[in-house]
């Protein structure tokens, strides 16, 4: 239709078609209107209320998904009213959406490290991939893995099971160390320059991170550092025994290798001014840190021998050995105090005393640091505050006042209150580690407000283009805090330089807060792995040698596998979350009650109705695409949910597990069952390939998670033109690609003297070619082949037959269909289906002869049910198992075994009005005579011999409806039969049994699944198994070769209705698996030229 309807869309003239909805016109005009319940493949629902837009003259906001455009309509999609409505809508949905978006560990990490991602990659031993996951948010992981107090571990729910969290920090360190040691630190990408430059002032963790993340976005970066080396507080504030400088430097070097220019020894205010930087660069990021020790505010603090804590550590870390005397007092309870006291001890002080004004429980230092300091002989005086430092010309003693704990202060810790009681410590040195502040002297007044830097939540200072991050902005904080700060500042600068407005990324997470140990009672306990730490005497003997030796690889594998994967599996696919971020929705704004709903899993997918937003897509999908209507809305209002009738478990419903609803669910309420140790990634790669599980060959889209290289979901493209399967797929098609990782064969194996061992391909081919050559010259060789191999495989097997005169190939898993194909060829000139799958969907009557559609070709059952429910299509099932098709007026006729051909003859008589038909046959005849578009599906019992096949053909000729689709299993039975192989394994097995062959090759099949016994297999001299999985007969095979499975290969096959399809390699096969033609050609070559391959 022509675009004749003129409207004003966001102030612009737009022309739409009559009857077009606002939503559709917006899509045509490139305006994204968010929606959760709408899908173009489903009927309109209008529930989610997210697509609200403003139409001039309308009393309320209108739903773009249902409102048709009218001439002259004035539509606005971008007003405050619209945005607020959408934001509120999302906030209301989030308030009743219970679960976790990102896991608690990630949310506890100030840098939002993808803990679940890198820990689970580590659990699979994929350390390089884990490092790549780390680098998305956490720079310097090996260093952070040494110094971080690990807030992630405090949040870890594993503690509910074992009272101990997953060793996230140690795993991170191991990953970083392993990659450093192996030199696998990840490729340096080629960066597309964007022509802009940013100055980063300060080379600590914050500045380094900001530089790195900005560099990845294409900015030219110059890093200005006042010291000679980068690393900031991590280098100059943390002693070497905790963080060896070599580790830090190696990590920094990798960051710099991305093309970051560095000017060390360049201090802001001394060597360069902010104005100069602003002139040269498009933006300046200040990451100066907090380098000024706070004063003690006690008389005598100017005496020689009173050292500032951070200055002391700086001296130690730069190799100077400050004069400290024999007795040292360290004032303070934070990590700087711990580092200072332990360094003082290492510099030779005999008596080191930490004076802290509260008790041990209130100490901000990490408990392990305190514990290790105590082990090293450091004294602690709690509840004491320095009152005065005295001495003649230098420090001699420290007068302290006893404190007691009063009421909690703003930090929640109890406030120390002076008691008036004093005591004196005899000391030579006092190290004041009571706090740090930023040195703002180099900064202009516009951005300094007295003692504070003026910086907003988006990291911007009042000076345009000048930003600040890290300790300078937040005050002294842990290193990972600065890393996160640098990252968000980088993104805010990017926003500023691309859109003109600084803006840090908006975060929106639903968090489940009400969990406790009882929710994890079913988990197996598995204690935490602990790193090896040098004992105290050894530590003091080698004072600045690293004392924590970390976990070993075995420990990492065990500990990482303790992760319970709390985050939502649909994190990156969830539309609710995506929109919530876009509209800056706050999940807590409308927090309130929630009616706890069903959570259940079946073999195919998990339903978590606590996350359901009642958009009804699944209900409509099941009804309108899958054809089953297994689920619907149940109850109403706030208590409403979605479930099977009478809320019975989903497996007792009409559900076939086809997963169409899972595919269309916009949130994480319906998710595919996945293997454990899943990894989240925002960037799934999707590859289209036909399904190889049955001869329908549905078009699938297999989505691969790039870091793990695994297929994590199978979906379909509902818009694919000329799709074989019209966008449908079944449970098997969706599930099998995700099962590719279980029990795989990865290496050829040979058995000698009863013991199996792994072998290289060359040896395998040598040995196997030898034995088949022997067999071929001797008693003979039987080959059992699967019916779901590619045409290329069958071609290779034909080559083998040609090369080995005694060999013959039999097919397994192909239901006998050859006689029917033969009769069809004879009578109608076409050895195959005469109907298309499209015609099956359009039929007004489907005649199913011995069909077991739900088992063998499930998608066909889906279409027929859809047609029955929506178009009144009738079904007559003769023999077989109609399954769910038995509902809805299906006429079922049972057949006595052996009377299949007779039953059709009787029906033919009834059609002609002859003979004495039973009432059921009579009814079938009436239905058949009335129908105008009949499609017949003929299964094994009507295909296994010519008589039965003739009865089918005669019936259809009498009826005058010659549309038939022969039914069989085995994805490429057609291709195999075209190669001339026997469609029955019986002959091959009989030959094995009577001993006429002594060598058996099984290709893609396990003979035990097709009538062979273990004794049969033991009876042959040679049994060679080619398979993708470790199957039952593995232990009986003399040689085993790994094959790729269909998502891992290329190859052609022919489907049920004769369409030629081609598999695309979606992922690489595991290990050494090779395609069959490669293997066979190797064998054939060797059998032909034995001399050349001799010993």
């Amino acid at each position: 239709m022509n675009r004749t309807v003129r409207v004003l869309l966001d102030g612009q003239e737009a022309y739409g078609r009559p009857g077009q909805t606002i939503l559709s016109l917006c899509a045509d005009s490139g305006i994204e209107v968010p929606t959760l319940c709408h899908d173009p493949h489903l009927s309109v629902h209008g529930g989610c209320s997210l697509c609200l837009v403003e139409v001039k003259g309308a009393r309320t906001l209108v739903r773009a998904c249902v409102t048709e455009i009218a001439p002259g309509m004035e539509i606005r999609t971008d007003t405050d009213r619209v945005r607020l409505a959408r934001q509120t809508d999302l906030e209301l949905l989030l308030s009743d959406h219970v679960g976790d978006c990102r896991p608690p560990c990630t949310l506890a990490c100030p840098a939002r490290g993808d803990v679940q991602g890198y820990v689970n990659l580590a659990a699979q031993g994929r350390y390089a991939d884990a490092l790549a996951a780390l680098h998305e948010n956490v720079t310097l992981p090996a260093s952070i893995g040494r110094v971080c107090p690990a807030p992630c571990e405090e949040a870890c729910r594993r503690s509910f099971v074992d009272q101990e969290p997953v060793s996230i920090r140690e795993i991170k360190r191991f990953v970083g160390d392993w990659c450093l040691a192996q030199g696998e630190r990840g490729p340096i990408p080629v960066i597309a320059e964007n022509g802009r430059s940013v100055a980063v002032v300060g080379g600590g963790p914050g500045g380094l991170s900001a530089a790195y993340y900005l560099r990845r976005l294409g900015y030219a970066i110059t890093l200005y550092e006042k010291e000679d080396h980068l690393g900031g507080m991590m280098r100059y504030g943390i002693p070497d025994y905790r963080l060896p400088p070599a580790v830090l430097q190696a990590e920094i070097d990798w960051l710099l290798a991305h093309g970051i220019a560095v000017k060390t020894g360049t201090a802001l205010g001394r060597d360069v001014t902010l104005d100069q930087l602003r002139e040269v660069h498009d933006a300046v990021l200040l990451a100066l840190g907090c380098w000024r020790s706070s004063p003690l505010r006690a008389p005598g603090e100017d005496l020689p021998g009173v050292l500032p804590g951070i200055g002391f550590l700086y001296d130690v870390n730069t190799g100077r050995r400050p004069e400290i005397g024999r007795r040292v007092a360290v004032i303070g309870g934070g990590n700087t105090a711990m580092d200072a006291c332990r360094c003082a001890k290492r510099l030779g002080a005999d008596e080191v005393t930490v004076v802290y004004r509260r008790s041990r429980a209130e100490m901000p230092a990490q408990p392990i640091e305190v514990e290790e300091a105590m082990e090293e002989g450091i004294q602690f005086v709690f509840l004491a505050a320095p009152k005065a430092i005295e001495g003649a010309g230098k420090v001699e003693h420290l007068e302290c006042e006893r404190m007691e704990l009063g009421a909690p202060d703003a930090s929640g810790r109890r406030q120390p209150v002076p008691t008036g009681e004093t005591f004196v410590l005899e000391v030579d040195t006092v190290i004041a580690a009571v706090g740090q502040a930023a040195d703002l002297s180099a900064l202009p007044e516009q951005i300094c407000d007295g003692r504070w830097l003026r910086v907003d939540e988006h990291y911007a200072t009042p000076l345009p283009g000048v930003f600040a991050c890290g300790d300078l902005r937040t005050g002294p904080d842990i290193a990972i805090g600065a890393i996160g700060d640098g990252h968000w500042a980088a993104l805010s600068i990017h926003r500023y330089l691309t859109t003109g407005t600084p803006r840090r990324p908006y975060e929106c997470d639903v968090v489940q807060r009400d969990l406790g140990p009882e929710d994890f009672a079913d988990r197996t306990k598995q204690p935490q792995e602990h790193p090896r730490v040098l004992p105290a005497p050894q530590r003091l003997k080698h004072p600045f040698q690293e004392l924590n030796l970390g976990l070993d690889s075995e420990q990492v594998l065990r500990d990482a596998a303790r992760c319970m994967e709390c985050g939502c599996p649909d994190l990156h696919e969830c539309k609710l979350r995506r929109y919530a971020v876009e509209y800056e929705a706050a999940p807590e704004r409308y927090a309130g009650s929630h009616v706890s709903r069903l959570e259940e899993a079946n073999p195919f997918y998990a339903r978590n109705m606590d996350k359901c937003i009642l958009c009804g897509r699944c209900v409509r999908t099941c009804d309108e695409i899958a054809g089953f209507h297994a689920i619907d809305f149940v109850r109403r209002g706030f208590e409403g949910t979605i479930g099977a009738e009478y809320l019975r478990p989903i497996e007792n419903s009409e559900c076939t597990g086809c997963g169409m609803c899972v595919q269309l669910c916009p949130v994480g309420a319906l998710v595919e069952v996945r293997l454990p140790r899943r990894v989240h990634s925002a960037r799934l790669r999707s590859v289209a390939t036909p399904c190889g599980e049955c001869p329908v060959g549905c078009d699938l889209l297999l989505e691969v998670e790039p870091l793990s290289g695994r297929i994590v979901r199978a979906s379909t493209d509902l818009d694919l033109a000329r799709s074989v399967s019209f966008g449908n797929a079944c449970a098997r098609g969706r599930l099998s690609p995700m099962e590719l990782y279980e029990d795989r064969l990865v290496q050829p194996m040979l058995r000698s003297r009863g013991r199996a061992r792994e072998a290289e391909w060359s040896e395998f081919l040598d040995k196997v070619s030898l034995c088949i050559r022997e067999a071929s010259g001797g008693k003979g060789l039987a080959i059992l082949a699967a019916a779901d191999l590619a045409d290329e495989d069958y071609g290779a097997l034909r080559d083998l037959e040609v090369a080995l005169p005694q060999a013959s190939v039999s097919l397994c898993g192909a239901t006998p269909v050859a006689p029917l194909l033969h009769v069809l060829k004879e009578r109608w000139g076409n050895a195959g289906a005469t109907a298309t799958l499209g015609e099956l969907r359009e039929a007004d009557l489907v005649l199913i002869l011995d069909g077991r559609l739900e088992r063998d070709q499930p998608v066909l059952a889906s279409w027929i049910r859809l047609a029955m429910r929506h178009s009144g299509t009738r079904v007559i099932a003769i023999g077989g198992d109609p399954g769910r098709l038995a509902k809805g007026g299906t006429l079922q006729l049972a057949v006595t075994p052996g009377r299949h051909a007779d039953s059709l003859s009787d029906l033919r008589e009834a059609l002609l009005g002859k003979g004495k038909a039973s009432p059921a046959l009579g009814q079938a005849a009436v239905l058949l005579n009335k129908a105008t578009k009949v499609v017949t599906l003929a299964g094994p019992e009507f295909a296994l011999n010519e008589r039965a096949a003739e009865s089918v053909v005669s019936l259809l000729e009498t009826l005058g409806q010659k549309k038939i689709i022969p039914l069989y299993s085995g994805a490429n039975t057609r291709g195999a039969l075209a190669s001339g192989f026997s469609s029955s394994p019986v002959d091959a097995l009989a030959a094995v049994r009577i001993g006429s062959v002594d060598t058996l090759l099984a290709i893609g099949v396990d003979p035990l699944d097709h009538g062979a016994t273990e004794d049969d297999l033991r009876g042959v001299r040679r049994f060679v198994l080619f398979h993708h999985r470790k199957t039952k007969s593995l232990s009986l095979a003399h040689a085993v070769a790994p094959l790729p499975r269909w998502p891992e290969r290329t190859g052609t096959f022919t489907n049920l209705t004769g369409t030629h399809l081609r598999w695309q390699p979606v992922v690489a096969p595991p290990g050494a698996a090779k395609p069959l033609p490669w293997i066979v050609s190797g064998l054939v070559r060797r059998t032909r030229e034995p001399a050349a391959r001799g010993t």
Partner: protein
């Protein structure tokens, strides 16, 4: 009381609508039937509700065209009434509530009303079509069958009749759209899913004069070209359903329904479909889904039912009262109808007057009557010592009109301007013992639990609003809650899919607008000024007044009251559940309710 006439009564009528039956009218009817068994000259009739529900059971005696209506009749009084009228014995004047010739207690109340919709209610036997026909019933249909459909629509349009279900859309226009919509098959649907708490207008019409609805529907069908009609009536109205079905059968037999009505060639069938009790099914698209056997949830409009309604065909949906107006308009003319009312609101409106008003019942008044006239003049105001605080109009979709706006005329536009809505006719009068926060909470609780759950604004938004109101009523509210309530109210109104959600915040918004101080008292002072919200009130026995009779202690369901006989009692505040039974039983009013 002087004996009215020497003539023997001709007719005795007993109000046997639900209100009458609930008050015991069945026993009265049975008594009269046995007493009149020998009086062939006196006709005993059952009739619908005359509107004086607060006087039920009602018995009317007609003598020479003069009607005497007696209230609060028991079987014994019924006997006395007969004794008086047949034999001149005794005196029953104190039971006389209305006298068509003279003067009685409620003459004034009825005189102020104009009865178009209720023209037959209380006067005819709803189970006998003859009674309806005798009062010009089906005359309008006969007339309509001689008119062109366009003429009928023009007449209805000219009358100014607007939908009485609440939204007030022009009835004639709706019919015109449906007639203009393409399609051979069209439907007429009567919305009898009256669900507002406290509303019983439609029920009274269906129980008292079902034929007027059938006739209105038939006229509508004739004008839009429909041949099938459905009355969607809630199953909680069993008497209405029974009388409707009886009326349909009689009308069909008499040739007013069915094939070839009155030999005009016009076919029209009506079916009754019973609703399962979901309030949202009163919303027209949900109602249609329910008739079709689907889940009763609204769908977005457009398309409007006039284009795509029942089974996807053009459909007129009007409510009971709207249809009941139609025959009258055709018989008396659009001008006669339009003479009543003001501005764009013509004709009359039926209200179910309830709450703290003295004379609760069914009233029909011309549009434009000042609210005060209705509530005080007809309803008799509130109890002595109390003052009207507000009038809640329009049920859970409506709002509270404060006492200072009582001079507002009752017409669509004026009522809407106050923040309330005309609605289908629920009118709850509130006095100083009504807590406005609690009133808002009550109505929101109703809509919240009746939300179908389709759209988040209504499903979750009303729930969150209710949670805030409940917090405020418990004294746990925050000052910021008021802003949040207002924000949410605006969003829920603006974003909800159907009328239920779009109007659900009205009670909250109007109470916030007119009674913000009461909210603030709950939040800031932790005080319920009307002494209603149980966590904010305390019961106290005045030791000086208490006589130690122990009645209250014995009545208390949780044994919170203790005290020795003849000595002052005390209430344990922690145990007390604030049921108020002690106050009711105390013979000396020693127990007071306090809110700090």
């Amino acid at each position: 009381m002087e004996r009215p006439s020497l003539a023997t009564p001709t007719t005795v009528r007993v109000g046997l609508a639900s209100c009458g039956i609930a008050s015991g009218a069945t026993a009265v009817y049975e008594k009269l039937r046995s007493l009149l068994a020998d009086h062939d000259d006196i006709e005993l009739q059952q009739v619908g509700c005359v509107g004086l529900c607060f006087h039920e059971p009602l018995v009317e005696v007609e003598v020479d065209g003069t009607r005497y209506l007696y209230g609060e009749v028991t079987p014994e009084i019924a006997e006395a009434i007969l004794a008086f009228h047949l034999r001149g014995e005794g005196d029953i004047e104190e039971r006389l509530v209305f006298n068509s010739e003279g003067d009685a207690a409620e003459n004034a109340m009825l005189a102020k009303q104009v009865r178009i919709v209720l023209r037959n209610c209380g006067h005819i036997d709803p189970e006998r079509i003859e009674a309806y026909v005798a009062r010009d019933g089906y005359q309008a249909l006969t007339q309509a069958l001689r008119m062109k459909p366009e003429e009928i629509i023009a007449e209805v349009e000219k009358s100014g009749l607007r939908g009485r279900g609440g939204a007030g859309f022009s009835t004639g226009l709706k019919w015109r759209f449906t007639r203009a919509a393409a399609g051979d098959v069209k439907y007429v649907v009567c919305n009898a899913d009256e669900g507002d708490p406290g509303a019983f207008m439609d029920r009274s019409v269906l129980e008292g004069d079902p034929h007027s609805v059938l006739e209105g529907m038939a006229i509508c069908a004739r004008s839009v070209g429909a041949s099938e009609g459905v009355i969607y009536c809630r199953a909680e109205y069993p008497l209405a359903v029974r009388r409707l079905e009886g009326a349909i059968a009689q009308a069909r037999q008499a040739g007013y329904l069915g094939r070839d009505i009155l030999r005009s060639g016009f076919d029209f069938e009506i079916k009754v479909k019973e609703g399962a009790g979901a309030f949202v099914c009163g919303e027209e698209t949900a109602l249609l889904a329910s008739i079709e056997g689907r889940r009763g949830t609204p769908r977005p409009r457009p398309p409007f039912p006039a284009q795509k309604g029942l089974w996807g065909k053009p459909t007129v949906i009007n409510n009971v009262e709207t249809f009941a107006n139609v025959p009258w308009i055709l018989v008396h003319g659009a001008d006669a109808f339009a003479r009543h009312g003001v501005g764009k609101s013509r004709g009359t409106k039926v209200f179910a007057l309830a709450g703290k008003v003295r004379k609760g019942g069914l009233v029909e008044v011309p549009m434009g009557m000042p609210l005060r006239e209705l509530v005080e003049g007809i309803g008799g105001g509130v109890g002595e010592g109390h003052a009207i605080k507000a009038v809640q109009m329009g049920g859970p979709s409506g709002g509270c009109i404060p006492a200072e706006l009582l001079d507002t005329p009752v017409d669509y536009e004026s009522i809407t301007a106050t923040g309330a809505i005309m609605g289908s006719g629920g009118m709850v009068v509130l006095d100083d013992t009504s807590c406005m926060v609690d009133v808002a909470r009550f109505f929101l609780h109703f809509t919240q639990s009746e939300s179908c759950g389709k759209c988040p604004f209504c499903r979750i938004g009303t729930r969150r609003m209710l949670e805030i109101l409940e917090r405020i009523c418990r004294g746990e509210g925050k000052v910021s809650d008021l802003a949040r309530l207002e924000e949410l109210s605006v969003q829920v109104k603006d974003g909800s899919l159907c009328g239920l959600g779009q109007t659900a915040p009205n009670p909250v918004l109007t109470t916030l607008r007119y009674f913000r101080g009461e909210y603030e008292a709950h939040i800031v002072d932790k005080r319920c000024p009307a002494k209603v919200c149980t966590t904010l009130i305390h019961y106290r026995i005045d030791p000086g007044t208490c006589i130690g009779c122990t009645l209250c202690a014995r009545q208390c369901p949780v044994s919170a009251i203790s005290g020795e006989r003849r000595k002052a009692h005390t209430i344990v505040d922690e145990t007390c559940v604030r049921c108020g039974q002690c106050v009711t039983v105390c013979p000396v009013q020693a127990i007071s309710v306090e809110s700090p």
